[in-house]
């Protein structure tokens, strides 16, 4: 404890020297007892303002994030090296700009305080029997969302162990995201089964390879654009619209809580892309090319290759129309159309905040996308 050490500092150095000498003469390695330069720099938790947060511990050498990490041994950032440490990590993500963002520690802390339980925080008792068409649509959508959330947890998981421990803040955020996605998977699975319907057929969009297009990303930023900016952004719009198509307080709470989680994940992607754009502007054209590809998939009604999973074709899109229209599919389709339009608008806003808004002004963004928004 620092308090104890302050007491020891008041003592003459001689006893420590004697102890070290004793150790050398009797086979003990006690050099680690020597104080580091950081000794005595206490942290002062403000319990009225969030306690001792991760960002509060980013001080001195412990807060210094290298632009390029040579840490191959899993050494905690700021800890002293051991020359004999084995190279346990073969980290692909070694450059700060590849994964970094401002506010990662704050987002991680936010994630910790906003965990919830699908077992007890959803008022399942409000779930009542629904008309058959509505219940089947609920089950179809829940099947789709359970499928989506499996991918959304699986993909970032691959990148955690590939990232240098010097960039532990985004790593830990991704760990929290995986917990969130596991909870989303389980809550939609429970919803599908809770009223006696059960899981329906896997979405055509997934069977058509949407998930694998994210999973095949060769670079963290590419994965993040496909997953956080595009995929999760689109799902966030569904969760947000979910309150409108909820038939009871249980469903309303599910969508609301999932939306809160999902918006954190989207914020991670936006803030990472923004950092990359500022730190390595020479990579902007590469990212624009990636966004070209993403936007081609966002265009509506482009068949099984569409990244917009809510195209009107397919069971997922039509299940939304049934739910939004309370069985009146024509009315529901109008609302679904408005939702798709909002999805694209929100995507555009995210890309602008990320630092790539010029594509919507210089004609780079596809005419189909722009026409859709205008429409």
């Amino acid at each position: 404890m620092p308090t104890e050490m302050r007491e020891s500092e008041q003592q003459p150095a001689e006893p420590l020297d004697q102890l070290l000498e004793y150790g050398r003469g009797n086979g003990y390695q006690l050099d680690w007892l020597r104080k580091r330069e950081t000794w005595g720099n206490e942290l002062h938790p403000d319990m009225e303002h969030g306690g001792l947060r991760l960002q509060d511990a980013e001080v001195g050498p412990f807060g210094e994030v290298p632009d390029v990490s040579d840490n191959e041994t899993g050494r905690p950032r700021g800890a002293l090296r051991r020359e004999d440490a084995p190279r346990v990590g073969s980290y692909r993500v070694k450059s700060k700009s590849e994964i970094w963002m401002r506010n990662a520690a704050a987002l991680y802390e936010e994630a910790l305080t906003r965990q919830w339980s699908s077992a007890t925080d959803v008022p399942w008792e409000t779930l009542k029997p629904l008309p058959d068409d509505i219940e089947r649509a609920e089950c179809e959508l829940a099947t789709f969302l359970s499928d989506v959330e499996f991918v959304a947890g699986d993909v970032p998981g691959r990148w955690i162990s590939d990232t240098s421990p010097d960039f532990f803040e985004p790593r830990m955020f991704l760990v929290s995201q995986i917990m969130d996605e596991a909870r989303h998977l389980d809550v939609f699975r429970k919803r599908a089964l809770a009223n006696g319907g059960g899981l329906m057929q896997q979405s055509r969009a997934f069977a058509g390879g949407f998930g694998s297009s994210i999973d095949n990303a060769r670079d963290f930023t590419e994965m993040s654009v496909r997953l956080h900016i595009s995929g999760e952004g689109l799902i966030l719009s569904v969760f947000r619209m979910g309150e409108r198509m909820a038939y009871n307080d249980a469903e309303k709470e599910i969508y609301r809580l999932c939306g809160s989680d999902e918006s954190r994940h989207v914020a991670f992607g936006v803030m990472h892309l923004r950092y990359l754009a500022e730190a390595e502007p020479e990579r902007k054209e590469e990212i624009h090319c990636l966004l070209d590809e993403v936007e081609a998939g966002l265009a509506i009604g482009e068949g099984t290759s569409s990244q917009n999973l809510l195209t009107r074709v397919g069971s997922t899109g039509s299940s939304l129309a049934v739910l939004l229209g309370a069985g009146n599919i024509e009315e529901g389709e109008k609302l679904a159309q408005a939702m798709r339009q909002r999805q694209i608008k929100e995507y555009i806003q995210r890309v602008k905040v990320s630092g790539f808004g010029e594509r919507f002004e210089n004609g780079r963004s596809g005419p189909v996308l722009m026409k859709y928004v205008a429409g």
Binding site: E48, H49, G50, N103, A106, E109, E110, T113, R114, Q115, W116, D121, L236, R240, M241, E243, R244, M245, A246, K252, R256, L257, G259, S260, S263, R264, V266, A267, V270, M271, A338, M339, R342, Q349, R350, K352, V353, S354
Partner: protein, 149 residues
């Protein structure tokens, strides 16, 4: 005692309820200054971890510093509060989130174009909705209207 909407007293009463509401706190911590805009009036509430503090009427310039501004027409504010009074919580057409979705423009925005701050509207959604739903506990009368809920 009836509280007039909009007024500092009304938002302060809501903040007082929030500060004693364990069900609101379970949604997690916050770090945001939110301005509620009603016609040309601005009311600022700072959500600091688990407390709603510093409720005051602010200026349009102050709103530039807020994480986000929630703006509705007086009629929609009244519609929302009436619905909350009737149902004990906002029905599906009257949640902050739904109102943000259904019109051409969202009801929330960061006036300084700070997307990270504006996104707090979504990230703190369950807490903000609970904050507003607690108005079911307030006897409310609307300024300039005879309507009392």
């Amino acid at each position: 005692m009836a509280h007039t909407f909009p007024s500092v007293e009304w938002f302060q009463a809501l903040a007082d309820i929030a500060n004693g509401d364990d069900d609101l706190k379970k949604f997690g911590t916050l770090d945001a200054t939110v301005v509620f805009k009603v016609a040309e009036q601005h009311y600022s509430v700072t959500f600091d971890i688990l407390q709603a503090r510093d409720v005051h009427e602010s200026s349009a310039d102050d709103a530039l510093e807020a994480d986000f501004v929630i703006e509705l027409s007086p009629e929609k504010w009244q519609g929302m509060i009436d619905d909350i009074q009737t149902n004990g919580r906002a029905g599906r057409d009257w949640t902050l989130n739904t109102l943000d979705m259904i019109d051409d423009e969202p009801i929330h925005k960061n006036l300084g174009q700070d997307g990270f701050a504006a996104d707090k509207f979504h990230r703190y959604g369950p807490t903000l909705q609970r904050f507003m739903d607690n108005s079911s506990q307030l006897e409310t009368e609307f300024a300039g209207a005879a309507v009392t809920t």
